[in-house]
């Protein structure tokens, strides 16, 4: 009974402890020895102790561009350009010895104001502080308040409405405002002899502001102008073109200035080509439709030749960096650069270098750094310095036409706006 009681009082575990220690020792000793041998072999094989590689710092740059909708024709070209731009940016930072990688987060805004805002909001939710795009001025206007409130740097490569030239905000534009282009386009039309014009324009932020500036410049030159706007986003513009023909006939106008995007521009020109009234006056056009493949069909090409169609666009003509970019895009993707491609390319490069210069991923710091980086950056779009409103300070304008070549109709830059007048560098039409 006493023995039994004694054995019961002994803790049961005390008998098992020596066994467990043996077991643990049996496992641990070979493991430690194995690790030691393995480390030794690794050191010998690698020729010395290697420090763990430092992980790359990854920065995201947001992108909201029109891969569908009214600007999709040019948006699809932009998609190719941005892939080249980010590749070049990463190569440059690597060449500088920086352990940094930039990644693009691309969203399609369908050329819609609401979708552009949704994109900016969702990019912001992902922690992104720098966004390239959106394309249209009406979109930039919609995202502006959200961007300013949340300190998100917006760099639009193509918004040109003068009404958005506002100092101190978070909106930057790598292209000059249309106040400059309106001067170039009005000079072009005047120099070509047009004295009574109808301005046919998109009823949106871009079209309205551009038309107002054009009217002002034309009136300063003593040219009579009337304005006719059309609703955007329609499937077709045959009815609008018929009304334009009616207006031209009733007013005895000798020219039309078209302010359009690519899809509506192509549509309007193809219907105008069928009108006797509109085929017998001069046509001038803004930068919007430049680069859109739909303009290169035979009907529009013949019309362009008949009415001696000329357009203006932001372009630093004969820039070797632009030519190099055009060549690389042609070789890699088999496409020609369209309007604003060079401004988009530079916007991405500027965004990347501004993040590096800021030293931290913070909207306010990046905004301040962007202004400084742009002062010394020269790219395919030329010198990118911003003015006080965050728009490109020095913007040159080229003159484009649709010319007939052995391979069909093509866009060609045929002149430039220099010191207040248009200088043609070559003859576009016979």
């Amino acid at each position: 009974m006493t023995l039994m009681a004694a054995s019961l009082e002994k803790p049961a575990s005390s008998k098992k402890i020596p066994l467990n220690i043996k077991l643990i020792a049996l496992i641990l000793i070979p493991l430690v020895v194995g690790l030691a041998i393995g480390y030794g072999v690794a050191v010998v094989m690698m020729g010395g102790a290697a420090p763990a590689p430092k992980e790359k710092t990854v920065y995201n740059i947001g992108l909201t561009i029109p891969l569908s909708g009214e600007l999709s024709s040019i948006g699809k070209i932009w998609e190719k350009v941005v892939s080249l731009a980010i590749e070049d940016l990463n190569n440059e930072v690597a060449a500088c010895g920086l352990n940094v990688e930039f990644r693009l987060v691309i969203l399609d805004d369908a050329t819609s104001d609401e979708t552009a805002l949704q994109n900016v909001q969702s990019l912001h939710q992902q922690g992104i502080k720098v966004i390239v795009g959106p394309a249209a001025s009406s979109q930039v206007k919609v995202v502006k308040t959200y961007a300013d409130d949340n300190k998100i740097v917006i760099i639009s490569p193509s918004s040109t409405a003068p009404t958005l030239a506002i100092p101190g905000d978070f909106i930057f534009r790598t292209v000059g405002s249309d106040a400059g282009q309106a001067k170039a386009l009005s000079t072009l039309a005047y120099q070509e002899g047009a004295r009574k014009l109808v301005i046919f324009f998109r009823n949106d932020e871009y079209g309205n502001a551009f038309a107002d500036f054009l009217k002002q410049y034309f009136e300063e030159k003593g040219v009579s102008v009337s304005k006719l706007s059309y609703q955007t986003g329609l499937a077709d513009y045959a009815s609008e073109v018929a009304t334009l023909a009616s207006r031209v006939q009733s007013e005895g106008a000798d020219g039309v200035i078209l302010i359009a995007f690519d899809k509506d521009g192509a549509n309007i020109l193809s219907h105008a080509a069928e009108s006797d009234i509109l085929s017998n006056i001069r046509w001038f056009i803004s930068e919007g439709p430049h680069g859109a493949g739909e303009l290169l069909i035979a009907a529009v090409g013949r019309f362009a030749s008949k009415v001696r169609l000329y357009g203006t666009r932001p372009l630093y003509i004969a820039n070797p960096l632009y030519e190099d970019l055009a060549k690389r895009v042609r070789e890699k993707f088999g496409i020609e650069l369209g309007v604003f491609c060079e401004h988009l390319y530079d916007a991405i490069k500027l965004a990347g270098w501004a993040i590096i210069r800021a030293g931290k991923y913070d909207g306010e710091a990046i905004r301040n750094a962007l202004v400084e980086v742009a002062k010394t950056y020269y790219g395919p779009s030329g010198w990118t310095m911003f003015d006080s409103a965050g728009d490109k300070a020095q913007q040159d304008y080229g003159v484009w036409a649709i010319v007939s070549t052995a391979e069909g109709y093509k866009f060609k830059d045929v002149g430039l706006f220099e010191r207040g007048s248009i200088v043609f560098t070559e003859q576009a039409y016979p």
Binding site: S229, D236, Y237, A242, S275, L295
Partner: protein, 323 residues
């Protein structure tokens, strides 16, 4: 007469052709299947893009060939939609609203499938299909009557409308199949009980409707200066408006709706612009003012019967009670 009125008149007739080609099948399909089908927009777009792919990839310039291909392919897509989505939902007792929402889902899906296709084709051909210029066809003439030129699109549209109206009339009025389709439209349950193969005829209706709309899409490629994967989307509101004027029931009233909307969008806006200075950018607004005015003045007998119709009905009931 306002300057350039002849072109405005031609545009009116041209648009009336398009609205008829697009909205008659919408009314027929709703009447028979009771599905408010948003994929109708894709039928237009896919019809246009079959012509575009045939033109851009293999260089086809025959509108007849493109129309035949579009009819068969899009007609088959319409049948597949019914077999895989609408019919199973209806069999499970889903409400018409649920079926309509499923068609909206398909609408978005088809749109982005087409965007993907244009990207894939671009990758191999280096051609831009996301926005395509007007196609000039080799087998459709353009006509000149005096000083008036009628484009290929006008000739093709006129021919298509005449053929479609004739075929629909012959099928629906002169064949047993047509009578069976009408019986399903009037009372599907009763038709089925009386031995009419309901699901077969509904599939056939989808095939015919999808195919006809696709032909309209092909004709559109000879008219519009720029076709994108959203061409159907930007037209669908006008097409539905035209259908609603017919209450989504009457083919005759749908035809009248097509004429009315085309008139307001072309001649109406031209007159308002010329005489009252109303901007031409008010054109889409005018479409919906026309719709609302028409619905209030002439309430439809079918799906769109709203407050005024009930009010009229109640008033007529009161009148009959008092007599």
């Amino acid at each position: 007469m306002i300057p350039g009125f002849v072109q405005t008149l031609i545009n009116f007739v041209q648009y009336a052709f398009f609205y008829m080609i697009f909205s008659l099948p919408l009314t027929l399909s709703y009447r028979t299947t009771k599905v408010i089908n948003f994929v109708h927009a894709n039928f237009i777009t896919y019809g246009a893009y079959i012509a575009i792919f045939l033109n851009g990839i293999v260089g086809n310039t025959s509108m007849v060939f493109a129309s035949l291909s579009a009819f068969l392919i899009v007609g088959s897509i319409a049948v597949l939609n019914n077999l895989l989505v609408f019919a199973p939902l209806q069999k499970r007792g889903s409400s018409p609203a649920m079926v309509m929402i499923s068609s909206m889902g398909l609408w978005i899906a088809y749109k982005y499938i087409l965007y993907m296709l244009t990207d894939i084709v671009h990758f191999y051909t280096y051609k831009n299909f996301v926005s395509y210029g007007r196609i000039t066809y080799s087998d459709i003439p353009s006509l000149s009557i005096g000083e008036v030129n009628l484009s290929q699109a006008f000739v093709a549209g006129m021919f298509t409308v005449v053929v479609i109206v004739l075929i629909l009339y012959l099928i629906l009025e002169k064949t047993r199949m047509g009578r069976a389709i009408r019986a399903i439209a009037d009372n599907a349950m009763l038709a089925e009980v009386s031995g009419i193969p309901r699901s077969l005829l509904i599939n056939l209706t989808w095939f015919i409707c999808g195919g006809i709309v696709a032909i309209g899409g092909v004709v559109w490629t000879s008219f519009s200066g720029a076709v994108t994967p959203e061409v159907g989307d930007s037209m669908i509101l006008q097409v539905f408006t035209t259908g609603f004027i017919g209450g989504l029931v009457s083919l005759l009233r749908t035809g009248a709706g097509a004429l009315l909307i085309a008139f307001m969008e072309n001649i109406g806006i031209a007159l308002l612009n010329a005489y009252l200075g109303i901007p031409v950018s008010f054109r889409p607004f005018l479409t919906f003012v026309t719709l609302i005015t028409t619905l209030i003045l002439f309430p439809p007998l079918g799906a769109g019967g709203g407050l005024p119709y009930r009010f009229l009905k109640r008033r007529s009931e009161k009148c009959s009670d008092s007599t």
